[in-house]
Symmetry: C2
Subunit: 123 residues, 2 copies
DNA sequence: GCCGTACTACGATGCCTATCGTATGAACGT
DNA sequence: ACGTTCATACGATAGGCATCGTAGTACGGC
């Protein structure tokens, strides 16, 4: 069901996006990737979507270039996977990989983010 | 039994160290504080010690000034508490506060750090 | 009162990063 | 084939940060 072939298959044919392999992912880098309100928002949105999201589906109060930058940071640090589908770039959390490496971590962060958002009204 | 009075009582009398109140602690800042190998090591050591540790009790491959810097970042972001005892400065994890704000987060990070350390031989 | 110890403060440096605007490339629909 | 839409790349900028060395300050012991 085409769940994910992140590092292997160039889905659309031309543009390829480098992803770190599972063993390459480092805790400090994941935490660093998550330690930005904008990126935390992206990750929460992806988690809530439970699937793939278009880049433009996530509204952020920053410019497009900055948005691209944040998505790239998340991808290069192993938090999300990206692939092209036509002109759109789809994004998805790398839940399986993260769960295998750091069980419970992502859920903890997501829950913490939800709690704080409910507590403060914003992230 | 003098467990902790972090924000209130200057224990030793003269030097006071500013700590954020529990409500001031922000998830992104905590993650940022943890997103550094050196600081991650500090936090792991404090968690293992289950109590207070002298600054010098944690061996780090950096200079003393840098060490001070990392401890300050951890304190100002609400991850640890510090107070003076004589000439020594004691450090402790703010487990209760962090657990109240982000239940399970710290344990998840600590476990992830342990797993990665076991996997790679280092942090 | 003096000295040693422990940590801090300050200044410097070089790197990383979050942000932007503009120009470019890739795919889709007509 | 052409234009539109989506995202990228590149260059620039400003701020933050990890690191260091040196000088200074607070506390405890002699």
């Amino acid at each position: 069901m085409s769940t994910d072939t992140p590092a292997a298959g160039p889905v659309s044919g031309a543009r390829s996006l480098p992803h770190p392999a599972r063993e390459e992912i480092r805790l400090a880098q994941v935490l660093h990737a998550l330690a930005d309100p904008m990126r935390l928002r992206i990750v929460c949105a992806l988690a809530a979507a439970e699937g793939e999201l278009n880049c433009a589906d996530i509204e952020l109060p920053v410019s497009k270039s900055t948005c691209t930058h944040h998505f790239r940071v998340l991808r290069e640090h192993g938090v999300i996977q990206q692939f092209y589908r036509g002109t759109a770039k789809m994004n998805g959390l790398r839940r399986a990989d993260l769960e295998a490496l750091f069980p419970g971590l992502i859920d903890g962060v997501l829950r913490a983010a939800g709690l704080q958002e409910r507590r403060l009204g914003e992230l």
